[in-house]
Every structure is written in structure tokens, then in C-alpha cells.
Amino acid sequence: MSGVQSSELLRMEDVFTWFPIKGGILGRTQAYVKAVDGVTLSVRRGETLGIVGESGCGKTTLARTVVRLAEPIKGRLLFDGTDILKLKGGRLKPFRRKMQMVFQDPYASLDPRQNVRSALTEPMHIHGIVSGKNEADKRAAELIRIVGLNPDHLSRFPHEFSGGQRQRIAVARALAVNPEFLVLDEPTSSLDVSVQAQILNLLRDLQKELGLTYLFISHNLAVVRQMCSRTGVMYLGRVVEIGPTESLFERPRHPYTEALLSSVPLPDPTKRRLLAPLEGDVPSPITIPSGCRFRTRCGYATDKCAEVFPPATEVAPDQFAECLYDIDFAKKTKRELPVSSVQ
């Protein structure tokens, strides 16, 4: 991928986040769970970059690594040109303010014994962005209005709110410190469809008004299609394909992306597909297959795939895939397609 551009707000270079598995009498490290296994990507200012993948592919660890909730063992993480992996304590704090996170489950991410006002003003005081209590309260009232609730709600506690309202509060809390960059980890997965749409619209409006940049983690491909300008597809700790959402969805170039997309049922009974292109399950992130990690489930895989590590190649403008073959070529040469015929 091309070099550092000024439009990049965040850049990850060869980031590895491995978790040790300890065991035995001496408690030695026996192996590693390779949750993020060499990810290079960049998030451009003002865009929404979506990360999709199945459970266990490392997308949440990726999100946590970005905001330094999980420590990578190797790699560079550049925020606005500064490698924040080298910083700690007081020097990291200004960057903590600039990037905030919204978690999946608003029932777990809000302190049940803290009222909304306190949840919103606490980060303001920590980062010293308000001069006193009155200013903080004023700002809290403003924030709660921005996310579509009203100032009466400030003195209430999380249990008094529905899931959708709680997620609005979590968004307000993230915005409390004037961040530039939000990491949204499955922000609507625990919500019902009708409420999900409300939160997605809110996030979109906020992005426009405040000029925010989002890293949007989701397993829901339909939501990513609606929300993101670019999308990255993760499989077993690596981003196997990344590109503009439109071209990635319309013409996936990595066999995994193709299979993932054709597994999603459409809300349209006239377009039944019932394809189940992938057999079996994702291999363990402890023992990752050699060469291309998708080869064990890939319908186009050849002997070469086990030996050669596929480099990221630009397969279309701004679209990169980690596959040795051109997918159209693979389809022609391979008789047996992984996509079974429509019933």
C-alpha cells in the first residue's frame, strides 16, 4: 500500500496483537492466540472504515489495539503521524482524548451506579476540557440533546433506559471530550432493527456535524454497506481484503470476501439463494494454516497456497487483496466452484 499521506488520521503498520497461553508447572508461555496477526491499514480523515469478519477473526482485538486497550507485541500505530505505541502516561493522555470508543453492549459499558450526568462529566474533568462544574453540566446538557435525549435524563441511572437510549448515552460519553476519532465496536449488534436504524442515523449525522472519523467494527455486512466508505475484511487475524465499500461488495476479489457476501441472506423472498459456500468452521487462531490462511476452506486453493504467503496486491483502484490468484482466473481454471448452485 502507498506511503503515508497527509489525509491519514490513523495508520497501523504490521501490528501483531498476540495473547500468550500459559500453562505447565512453571507457567511458561506454551503458545499464542494470534488475534491480530500483521495488520497494515490506514483510516483517512473524515471517512468511516468498516471492519467485517466472523467471530474470532480478531476484529474486536483490532479495535482495542487501536485505542490501546490491548497491547500489541509488535508494530507501529501512527495517530496523526505520532507513533502512539511508544508513548505512555502523561504523553499518551492527549491521544486518549482524541480517540474514544463505543462498545457493543451498553448494559455492560455504563456503570450502573453512576448517573448520566456524572458519566458524561467525569471524562471532561479528567481531560481538563472544562473549567468548572457549571461548565461541565452545561456541556453535558448539550451533549445529551445532541444524541437525541433530553436534559431531564441527566439525573437518571442506566437501568432506567432502554438499550437504544443507553447506546445514545454511550455515544454522548464518547463525544464528551471532543474526540476526532471514534472506534465503534459493534455499536448496534445488541439492538433491535427499528432501534438500530435510529442509532446508525445518529452516528451518520454526528459524523457530518462534527467532522468525525470512524472505525466501524461489525459482523453485519448489511450495516457496513450502509455506513462505511471503505471496508476491510478480516480472516484469522489479517485483513485479507480492503477497498472502497461499493467495489468490494459489487466485485469482491478475495475468495473469502466472495464467500462471506454470498452467505448473507437477503431480506427479499424473490432473491432466495440458499448458498452455503463455506464448509466447516474457522481454524483456531493458535495454529494458523501455513501460506494463505484461508486455503483450508478456499474452493480455489492450489498446492502453492500452502507454501507461499500471499502479499497484498492492488486488484482494483484502491482495493487490495491477499490472494495469489486473480479471482476471475481462478474461476476459469477451477472446474469445481466453491459456490454451489442455486436450488
Binding site: 466472523e54 467471530s55 432502554s162 438499550g163 437504544g164 437510549q165 433491535d192 432493527v193 427499528s194 432501534v195 438500530q196 436504524a197 435510529q198 446508525l200 442515523n201 451518520r204 459482523h219 453485519n220 455486512l221 448489511a222 450495516v223 454497506r225 450502509q226 461499493e246 461488495f249 464467500a259 462471506l260 457476501l261 452467505s263 448473507v264 441472506p265 437477503l266 431480506p267 427479499d268 423472498p269 424473490t270 432473491k271 432466495r272 439463494r273 440458499l274 448458498l275 452455503a276 459456500p277 463455506l278 464448509e279 468452521d281 474457522v282 436450488q343
Partner: protein
């Protein structure tokens, strides 16, 4: 909807309340539902709509604090709310099976897959004797047709045919046949190496394999009705696709009706024949799947369909339904959807709208369409 004989299951005016410290939760407010023989009926709704309570009522698994206030649940001609306990048990055992969302909660972690299947069959040997014998005979007959029957098998076939008439089977003989049958069923749900699977423990299986095991356990009883409650919700899309495909294939083989409970309209679109939409304890709309997606009538269904993000096209602003699902301790008066409804008028808060047939086979509970 009339309870015609082609329905395997008919639920009429079912009302269920839950007693809680906060008050009475009026979870089901007169649910009318019927599942025809051989069809896949989707029951779709958001959380708190009462779809799982409906399923639990049919299954007889309501918790202690629930009370069935009124209504009927008729399974193949028997009312599950009024018949004698023994009758109900046999009816449920013979006619109905269910699969739940989280297979790990329902599988016993200390027993092998095989022993859990055998346990089901051994609960009632009399009921399952014909099933296991018929299954073995099917195999033998197939072998006979292909002319690969050994002498021993010919003798076995004759003795089994005699047994089928008498309906009695020794314990060891039953166990042998039950095991063969269980392995065959594991193969049928496309588990690799069924003999090995038979000896495995749930923790050794992946999420998709566990759900296949649950489906196998449901199928051993050859149910006329399979209740599938959010069976793909905990699974990834690629595995969900595998399970849905399996369900479709099985439906054609086993000749069962399926009541598929889900919150996901895309899953409904993929495999259901008819859909019932639930909201706050009511069935608000029922129609053929094509008709419902093409002509949604109830404002709630319209809102729900407009709110789903699609993976195959980009929409500008997503439409959402304002507000959230009501608290059912104090449900809204009249039509329970009226506080969130964009087309509510004076009549809506006053009384509950009846379920009317607005178009052929398309029922809706809304005053906009009469009633």
C-alpha cells in the same frame, strides 16, 4: 383463521401473563396462529414482542411465574391446555420437537452426543420402538432392493417385520437399533463421521456442529412440528447459511412443519413459506412470505421492512420507527402500536383492532383496513 384439519398446530386467543415484583407483565394479548402441515411458518418480531413466550407456551416450558390466562393451543387435534397431563406429554413427545438458540445451554456437557440421543429414545420405548424398527427396516429394504442383503440380514428383516406387528422389542435389541438409528440421524444433519460424533462431548464441537447436534436430537423423534427458536442467531453468517440450507433440505425429507422464530427478516425471506409478525404480544400481520415483503400492510411491518439495512444496495437515510418497544406491565391501550405509529388516528387508543383478512390470505390487525 379457521382451525381447519390441515393445520398441525392452532393457537387461539392465547393470553399469557407473568407475575413479577414490578407488576403483571401482559406478555401475550390474544395470539392467533396456525401452522399448516408441511409449511415453514416464520414468527418474527423484535425482542420483547412475545415470540419466544408463544413458543414456550406451545412447548409447555413457561416458567413458574407465568400464567396462561386464556386461549387454546391445539396440537394435531389435542388441546394442550386442557387434556390430561399424560396425554399432553405423549402428544408433545410424539408430535413436536424444538431447537433453541444456544446449543451449549441445552446440551449436557458431561454426556456424549450419542448418549443424549439415546436418552431421548429411551424415555419411552413403546413410542419409539416402531420408529427405530422402521428406520432399520428402511435400510434393510434398501439393501434388499439393491440385492446386497446377507443371509443374516434377511433373517433380521423377517424378525423385525414380525416385531413391527407386535410392537415389542427386547431392551438390548432396542438399544442396538436405537444406536444405529442415532448414527444415521447424525449423518443426516451432515455431521462429518457420524460414528465418531456419536462418541464426542459437546465441548469438542464447534458452534455450527452443536446446532446440528441439536437438530439431530429434535429429528430422532420424527416430529410433525419442529419449533426452531432463533437457531441461527448465535452463529456466524457462513455457518448460518449452512444451517438454513440444512433445514430446507430436511424439511423436504422429513415431511415436518417448521415454526421458525427469528428476529431476522432476511432469514424469514430465505426459507419461510408464510410469516406472522408479532409486536408487543400480538400477531399484527400474517401473510405468504412473497406477499408480506411486497405488500406489507401493518404500519409496524412497513416500518420494520424499511429499517433493515440491505447488503445488496445502499440506501440514503435509514428509516426508523420512533420510540421503543413498550413496557408490557403498562401496555398502551387499544392497539399496542399506536404510540409509535405514524398513521394512528382517534380510534386506535380506544380498542384493540381485530385481525381482518385485508387481501386473500393476508391478515392484518389494524383499523386502517377495517374492523
Amino acid at each position: 383463521m379457521d382451525g381447519s384439519t390441515q393445520d398441525i398446530l392452532t393457537v387461539k386467543k392465547l393470553q399469557v401473563n407473568f407475575h413479577t415484583f414490578a407488576g403483571q407483565v401482559k406478555a401475550l394479548d390474544g395470539v392467533d396462529l396456525s401452522v399448516k402441515r408441511g409449511e415453514v411458518l416464520g414468527l418474527v418480531g423484535e425482542s420483547g414482542s412475545g415470540k419466544s413466550v408463544t413458543a414456550l407456551s406451545i412447548e409447555g416450558l413457561l416458567p413458574q411465574n407465568a400464567e396462561v390466562v386464556g386461549g387454546q393451543i391445539i396440537l394435531n387435534g389435542k388441546d394442550l391446555l386442557t387434556e390430561k397431563q399424560g396425554e399432553i406429554r405423549t402428544a408433545r413427545l410424539r408430535e413436536m420437537a424444538m431447537v433453541f438458540q444456544d446449543p451449549l445451554t441445552y446440551l449436557n456437557p458431561v454426556l456424549t452426543v450419542g448418549s443424549q440421543i439415546l436418552e431421548i429414545l429411551e424415555t419411552d420405548r413403546r413410542v419409539f420402538t416402531p420408529v427405530v424398527v422402521a428406520a432399520r427396516l428402511e435400510d434393510l429394504n434398501k439393501a434388499a432392493r439393491e440385492g446386497t442383503l446377507t443371509e443374516k440380514e434377511t433373517r433380521e428383516k423377517a424378525s423385525l417385520e414380525a416385531l413391527l406387528a407386535e410392537q415389542t422389542l427386547g431392551r438390548r435389541e432396542f438399544k442396538r437399533l436405537a444406536k444405529a438409528y442415532a448414527v444415521a440421524i447424525l449423518g443426516r444433519v451432515r455431521l462429518p463421521e457420524p460414528e465418531r460424533m456419536f462418541k464426542m462431548y459437546p465441548f469438542e464441537l464447534s458452534g455450527g456442529m452443536r446446532q446440528r447436534t441439536m437438530i439431530a436430537m429434535a429429528l430422532v423423534r420424527r416430529p410433525a412440528l419442529l419449533i426452531a427458536d432463533e437457531i441461527t442467531t448465535a452463529l456466524d453468517v457462513t455457518v448460518q447459511a449452512q444451517i438454513l440450507k440444512l433445514l430446507r433440505e430436511l424439511k423436504d425429507q422429513i415431511d415436518a412443519s417448521i415454526l421458525l422464530i427469528t428476529h431476522d427478516l432476511a432469514v424469514v425471506a430465505e426459507i419461510c413459506d408464510r410469516v406472522a409478525v408479532m409486536y408487543a404480544g400480538n400477531i399484527v400481520e400474517v401473510a405468504e412470505v412473497g406477499e408480506l415483503f411486497k405488500n406489507p400492510l401493518h404500519p409496524y411491518t412497513q416500518g420494520l421492512l424499511a429499517a433493515i439495512p440491505r447488503p445488496d444496495a445502499v440506501r440514503g437515510e435509514l428509516t426508523s420507527i420512533k420510540g421503543s418497544v413498550p413496557n408490557l406491565i403498562y401496555p398502551p391501550s387499544g392497539c399496542r402500536f399506536h404510540p409509535r405509529c405514524p398513521s394512528a388516528f382517534e380510534k386506535c387508543p380506544l380498542s384493540k383492532p381485530p385481525l381482518v383478512e385485508a387481501r386473500a390470505g393476508h391478515y392484518v390487525e389494524c383499523f386502517l383496513y377495517g374492523g
